[in-house]
């Protein structure tokens, strides 16, 4: 372990309590970021957030009612940190990495205060396979050995900042705090390490080099994968008013997105929603390898009624754990629901600190903090020997008050993200899910074409462009159609309107309760898109020889096409090919009728 807690804390006493913010005087040694034990009686966890005239201003991560003036505060002189090591997967933590299941064992159905439970199980035995020998030179990020954690290989890495010669290395069964290996550093001192390390949550973990993300993160939702894609290592914001299905989008990403590890942060959201997720997840399996989905998931549940300062910490807790997995060379997806609740926590704390507010009451550093978080995403070459790469993709939902996208959290978030999935109450009321508005949404990850063309199917870029242009043209035409009636539009415009309706119902909508439709493999996403385009291009051609629109509407293959998303499972590619053939036949018959 890198951060050794000194056995003798420095002491101070409380001189003011205002909600979750307290002031402490008397520390003879202190720095911003120090984790403190507030009151030796209540044992609340706190963090020094600023120091004013030698007085420490502390945000307390638990409710302060009953806390006494003049109570003793202990400062152990190390920053608020996450425990990192084998045993994090499948865990459910609160905002400061306390395991909620363990807490329930101790304090029952309600969360009591002052509980200290280690984040990682100390008693669990892991089989450590060393990958280096005594005498080998290692430096930061190098893999000294591995542990099998569920279906993933958990690399044990030399902590950042450490390099030297392996003195001895253990192997076989051990617990996380047992001796694993020791390193003789340049200054000839020997440091011992276990499987467990710590990292301060406010500090990004280092990597070797950053790259522009170029590989898509497959989400399993057609509207994202085709129209508004995100890359591995990318950043997306999902804004939407209440009832637009933000949480449903986040849940379905947690289930189907193509990532090695998922970190799900329920930040200031509903308890019953969390309960739904926690109840349903253990029984769900990964569509790719049929292992329980929980096996690749770390959850942070800090519901809206849990302490507000822990809510503020929760997204940094999540990203620190995500970085640790990234450093092993994994692709991590971090889902934060919702960043607005986090920003509100920031606002609340700022208010208690009596700071000068800016727009909407938010503190002036809102944008800085947001960028601190979002900038920790990315596709990187990780520390250590060999060309190993890892990524963190962030999908953060935003809950703009009143559904107004011009509010500070949404506008500031927009500055740091490259993809924007705008959810629309109008679509949600019409039960169009995912309720992604195609005009307001965008994705600047337009360099993913190569991957799609080489690995999945040709024509991705072309399909995107055509679908996009049909949708945007239709939006313009709709207002005209309302005035003069659809029948009075020229045939090509009628076709655009028809195609837009068909694409919306038959392609963009995805039913999360239907077995075939809940997940769309990249191949299904592409093949279906190509079928819709095939239909469109064939109609375009026949319009020119005078085939009226209603003939297309009556076609059998159109009906089949509209139902294809529900009827075909992702692995039934041959059925899609067959539908394509039937389409060919039906169109050539139609063409013959009109040519003769």
């Amino acid at each position: 372990m890198k951060y050794k807690s000194s056995t003798h804390p420095v002491l101070g006493k409380i001189i003011a309590i205002n909600g979750s913010v307290i002031k402490v005087e008397g520390f003879r040694d202190q720095s911003v970021g120090d984790m403190v034990n507030v009151s030796t009686k209540l044992n609340l966890i706190g963090e020094i957030i600023k120091i004013v005239n030698k007085i420490a201003v502390i945000q307390c991560y638990e409710d302060t009612s009953g806390l006494k003036l003049n109570a003793t505060v202990e400062n152990y002189r190390y920053p608020l940190s996450m425990e990192l090591g084998p045993g994090m997967l499948t865990m459910i933590y609160d905002g400061i990495q306390r395991p909620l299941e363990k807490i329930a064992e101790i304090s029952g159905d309600f969360i009591a205060r002052g509980l200290r439970v280690p984040a990682i199980d100390r008693r669990k035995i892991w089989e450590f396979h060393p990958a280096v020998n005594p005498g080998d030179y290692v430096s930061e990020g190098d893999i000294v050995g591995t542990v099998q954690e569920l279906s993933l290989t958990h690399n044990i890495m030399v902590p950042p900042g450490i390099s030297g010669k392996i003195v001895s290395i253990n192997s076989g069964d051990m617990r996380v705090e047992d001796f694993a290996y020791s390193i003789e550093k340049r200054d000839k001192t020997i440091e011992k390490f276990s499987l467990l390390t710590r990292w301060p949550i406010r500090k990004a973990r280092p990597y070797k080099k950053r790259f522009i993300p170029s590989k898509p993160l497959i989400t399993g939702a057609r509207v994202f994968d085709l129209l508004f894609p995100v890359a591995q290592g990318g950043v997306v914001a999902v804004p939407g008013g209440f009832g637009t299905g933000k949480t449903v989008v986040q849940h379905s990403l947690a289930k189907f997105a193509d990532a090695d590890v998922i970190v799900y942060i329920g930040c200031g959201e509903r308890g019953n929603e969390m309960a739904d997720l926690l109840n349903s997840f253990p029984s769900l399996e990964d569509p790719k390898n049929h292992r329980p989905l929980m096996d690749r998931t770390i959850m942070i549940a800090n519901t809206s009624n849990m302490p507000v300062s822990a809510r503020e910490a929760s997204i940094f807790a999540g990203i620190t754990m995500a970085e640790y997995w990234r450093d092993m060379g994994k692709n991590v997806l971090l889902l934060a629901d919702s960043t607005s609740r986090w920003a509100e926590a920031l606002r609340e704390l700022s208010g208690r600190l009596e700071e000068m507010p800016t727009e909407g009451g938010y503190p002036a550093y809102l944008a800085t903090r947001l960028s601190n978080f979002y900038e920790r995403a990315g596709f990187v070459q990780v520390l250590g020997k060999g060309n190993r790469f890892g990524s963190i993709t962030i999908v953060g939902s935003v809950s703009p008050p009143g559904g107004d996208f011009s509010e500070p959290v949404t506008t500031n978030t927009k500055r740091f993200v490259k993809a924007f999935w705008a959810l629309d109450a109008r679509l949600a009321y019409a039960r169009h899910y995912p309720a992604v508005n195609w005009t307001d949404s965008y994705s600047l990850y337009d360099n993913l074409e190569e991957y799609w063309e080489e690995n999945i199917e040709k024509g991705w870029q072309d399909a995107r462009k055509t679908v996009n242009s049909i949708l945007s043209k239709a939006d313009q035409l709709e207002s005209v159609a309302k005035l003069i009636g659809t029948e009075n539009l020229p045939p090509d415009q009628q076709l655009t309107l028809l195609m837009a309706t068909v694409i919306k119902d038959g392609y963009l909508i995805q039913n999360s309760f239907n077995q075939n439709d809940m997940y769309s493999s990249p191949l299904k996403t592409m093949r279906l898109a190509l079928l819709f385009l095939k239909f469109y291009h064939k109609c375009e051609k026949l319009i020119k020889i005078g085939v009226p629109i209603f003939r297309f509407k009556e076609m059998k293959c159109l009906n089949a096409l509209r139902r294809a998303r529900l009827d075909f499972h992702s692995n039934e590619v041959e059925k899609m090919t067959q539908l394509g053939n039937e389409m060919d036949d039906e169109f050539s018959n139609l063409e013959k009728q009109y040519r003769s």
Binding site: G19, S65, N305, R347, G351, G402
Partner: protein, 463 residues
Amino acid sequence: MSISYANISSIMDPLVYMKPLPNHNIKNGSVVKIKTKDGEIRTGQVLTVSKDVVVIQVVEGSFGLTLGTTQVTFLDEVFKVGVSREMMGRRFNGIGEPIDGGEPILPEVLLDINGEPMNPVTRDYPRDVIQTGISSFDTLNTLVRGQKLPIFSGQGLPHNRLVAQIVNNAKVRTNEPFVTIFCGIGLLAEQALYFQQKFEERGSTKVISFINLASDPTIERLLIPKVALTTAEFLAFQHDMHVLVVLSDITNYAEALREISNVKGEIPARKGFPGYMYSDFASIYERAGRIKGKKGSITQIPVISMPNDDITHPIPDLTGYITEGQIVLSRDYHQQGLFPPIYPLSSLSRLMKDAIGKENTREDHADLSSQLYACYSKALEIRELESIIGTESLSEIDKQYLTFANLFEQNFINQGDSERPFEKTFNLAWKLLSIMDRSELIRVKREFIEKYYVENVDINSIY
């Protein structure tokens, strides 16, 4: 250990400020007793404390307090309320004292009114229903045990009548114990009398009322929901009861929150409401729920009268982000004389999908609700078309939709004060759907059509 002071330095209703003794370890959130020079005793609570100043909020308000002669005694405990099963059928004020003239309650246990947050991993996902006896609630927006489902209303809409009806008729359809807690926040005296009368009409001993009148102290409005919910938690999780908590009206609560925040000199966020209003609301609403392995549940119906009917106003907006759906009342319906004026298209119960069906309500419930929803929204489009092109140009099918919509509004939505159990509501809904051709009912499984569709339905029989 209690220490008394007589050194109030500032009075800003309902707060008082004073300097503590240097070695007095005042407890944050602790209770104080205040004795005026006339001997009147008031209760207060420590809001913030520092070595230079203690801020105390006085429940009864700080009007009439004096600088030198008012005595302030710090008790070394936080705000607690005594609860008991004997509270059933009684009426209390904002700090849990009986106001119905009856005997004081002998508390079984004293509980901190702030409670503790429920651990997300011990929460159980809500799955069983509560029957309100109101068709548009039960069929289209079913209330689930453990849910929080607010009523979004407006000034001049009959939400009080609706609330009284729900309180009197709501039941769980199993033989489990069920109790309703009515928490009136900032009620007008006349409204309070109305509720009291309504509850007494039914002679219900299953209602516990907590009443804070508009003329009562502001601070009490902030305490009363917490007191009510602490009682609810006691009954639900220590005595296995299903508890329905009706909070009316949250708008008054939010106004009180703003008022106090303002006096405290806090920095306001939207429309002058404090920045922590979301967290504060959550500390109330999130106390609804179920716990694994426990039989009881807490269900909440908060009532919000939306200022100026604006659903984007911070009060309904923040509420909507925390609650699991909303029931929206329509001014249009009300003007047409429909009661209850629940507008189905913008109402939503998020938890109903997993709670309804064969075991809890009836096999066809989900399909039926989705079909009613689809037919009514289509009918409204046709109605709009009708106003442009005239009834004559409509097709037969379109006319069926219009008949459906009219009867749906007049006889389904508009049910007056009557109580309809699920079966009665479902059968009525089927008669309504039977106005339409079978082929129009695409959201319902074929077998349900076979079973429930009424051939040649007589439209006079639909009520």
